[in-house]
Every structure is written in structure tokens, then in C-alpha cells.
Symmetry: C2
Subunit: 193 residues, 2 copies
């Protein structure tokens, strides 16, 4: 059953009884997407939270020179959204698309709000989720500010081996904030060291 993945994910931090599971599962909208499909366009308001069952999404922006900057990857078993747009209901400055064929659940914002009221345990679940996400992002920010690109790449491979095998190098370069050419040089250097 496709809902098993998300129930298992949620069960890491909270225990749900059968009624609560049913209520939650009924809020989920299942979607199957091809590689390269856009979930959220530039300028659109983000009205969903996404849970990735399999495949890999990315959240990215495009700067004034047309360069893409990857803000986040969302591989299987991850939650994602375009939080700023979602919270403020303003047009998104970022885009969400699929880097591979993907299967996911989406939950509407109003259903999420209702879920928090009906089953307050989900406050705990998302509190822990955001708390952990903050740790990851602070760590990444620290790396971007202080660690040379070569070391960041090595840490990336360790941290996201599943992504590393799934997606082209140029996306990893964008995530690390370096050019694909520079990342190629790093890879060659590591391969010959």
C-alpha cells in the first residue's frame, strides 16, 4: 500500500491510532510525475506540502543571468514545500520540479491546518521535522561560508549517496554553489589522488 511509506515516516516521531491514521491518509492526494515536470511555477502561490514516495524533486531559483541555484533536493522519504510562499501566500520566487520520474503525496495547506487542530500530535511531528531541517540547513550554510568546494563535494557524496547516483553533475554543482566546470576539475583531482 502506497500510504505505508508516509505512515512509516510519521511514525518515527509520533504514534497514531487507527482512526488518526485514517483521518491523515484521507487528506493525501497521490500523484505520479514524469521527469522534468513542474510542481510549482515561478510566481505561483505554493498551497501544498509534498511527501516524496520515490524519485527526486528539487527546489531552485533562477537569477537575473539565467543561472539556476538549487536550494534543496527532496529525495524519497523527504518532505518539501516552498515554505515562504506557502506561509505568506505570496508568489513563489522559486520553482519546484522533478529531477527523475517521481511519485508523491500532496497535502493542501488548509487540510494541514485542520490536521494540526484535529490531531495536535502532528504539531510535534512537524516541530521535530523543522528542527532537524534547521540543523541540516545551518550545517550546509556553514559549509558554503567556510569549507572549500572540494571538501563540500566529498561531504555531499557521503550525505546524499542516493542523489549522487540519480542526477546529473550540473545539479550537484548548482547545489554546492560552484560551476559544473569547477566541479569536474574537483572530481578529476579526487579520482587521481
Amino acid at each position: 500500500m502506497k500510504e505505508e511509506a508516509i505512515i512509516k515516516n510519521v511514525s518515527r516521531h509520533i504514534k497514531l491510532d487507527e482512526m488518526e491514521k485514517n483521518y491523515f491518509v484521507n487528506l493525501l492526494h497521490h500523484r505520479i510525475l514524469k521527469k522534468g515536470e513542474i510542481l510549482l511555477k515561478y510566481g505561483e502561490v505554493c498551497r501544498y506540502n509534498y511527501f516524496v514516495i520515490n524519485g527526486c524533486l528539487r527546489v531552485y531559483s533562477v537569477d537575473e543571468y539565467g543561472t539556476e541555484h538549487i536550494i534543496a533536493f527532496a529525495p524519497a522519504d523527504w518532505w518539501t514545500s516552498e515554505l515562504y510562499s506557502y506561509l505568506t501566500e505570496s508568489p513563489s520566487e522559486n520553482i519546484i520540479d522533478t529531477l527523475t520520474a517521481a511519485e508523491l503525496f500532496e497535502i493542501k495547506k488548509q487540510d494541514m491546518e485542520e490536521l494540526f487542530v484535529r490531531i495536535p500530535k502532528f504539531e510535534r511531528f512537524f516541530r521535530i521535522l523543522f528542527q532537524n531541517a534547521m540543523v541540516n540547513h545551518l550545517n550546509r550554510l556553514k559549509q558554503v561560508l567556510s569549507i572549500p568546494a572540494e571538501e563540500r563535494y566529498i561531504q555531499f557524496i557521503k550525505q546524499y549517496p542516493f542523489i549522487f547516483n540519480q542526477i546529473p553533475l550540473k545539479y550537484i554543482a548548482s547545489f554546492l554553489g560552484v560551476s559544473p566546470e569547477f566541479l569536474s576539475k574537483i572530481r578529476n583531482k579526487i579520482a587521481h589522488s
Copy 2:
């Protein structure tokens, strides 16, 4: 009453009755610190959440070349901690100190856990707090990856006018990931444009 600031902060997202307020206030440990005092040393386990009543804290790391990198500022009315160390109970790779004289409340981790169990509304409070913090940090990461330093500096002044007036330029440079010399050039350029 010094507890008013923190109650007001919490009341932005949840409503507490008198009993709940009393329970919460009893967990707070009030501290007065001088400028330059260290709250968390490198290698120490972070066992507290901090709420700044007034003054300004910073969370920073020192790289192998001795260069400081500011990960976060915590001015008045902000919460902070060294989340990774706090959550995993591992030695902190970052340092927390005061950039100005400061007054704050600290709450022990075990008291926080108990608070979540006793008054689950606090799950909601911290869920919203972490959610908003994530938005800020994603925004900052996007800026570091894609926006020129000059524009980042202008946005910083708009976003943190209170910090801008309180602390030396070198700390702002560190936060923005540029050298103090480079930031001076930017400032001169802006002043003469």
C-alpha cells in the same frame, strides 16, 4: 517584570492560561551577561535554549585558518541555541557568545521536553518558530549562493537595522561571508553612489 518579554513573544502564536504561564515562567533561568562573555564553548554540549531579553548574541565557528564565520545573530526577542549539539548531545563545533551586554533566559533541555509533554501547545509554538526560522535561513542561503555581496549587504541593513547599529562591521562581513576589507569597499561605493 522581565518575564513579560518572553510571554509576549510566546503569545504571538499560542494562548496560555495563568497556570500554564506560571509553569512556563518557573522553568526560566534569568542571566545577565557582559559583552564578550561565552555562553557555549567549542567542544561543550549545548544543553539550553536561549531567549534574548536584550542585547545581541552570536553563534559562530572558527575554521582551520582561524577565521570566524558567523552562523546566526540573536538580537532581543529572538530564540537561539546550538541546535545540532543540543539535539544530538554531541560536542558543539560552534561557539555562542555575547556581542553586547545582554540579558536572557535559558531553559534546560530536559525542562523543554517536559514542557512539550505538559503543555503540548508549545509543540505548536516551536513548530511555527522553526518553520519561520527555516524560511529565513533558506532565504539567506539563496542570497549567499546567488546574490552579489553588495546587494546582500543592502538587504542585511533592511532586515536587521537594530543589529547594524549595535555591532562592529567585521561581524557583519563574517555573517555575509566576505572579508571586512571587501565590505568596507562596498560601503564606500554605496556612500558615494
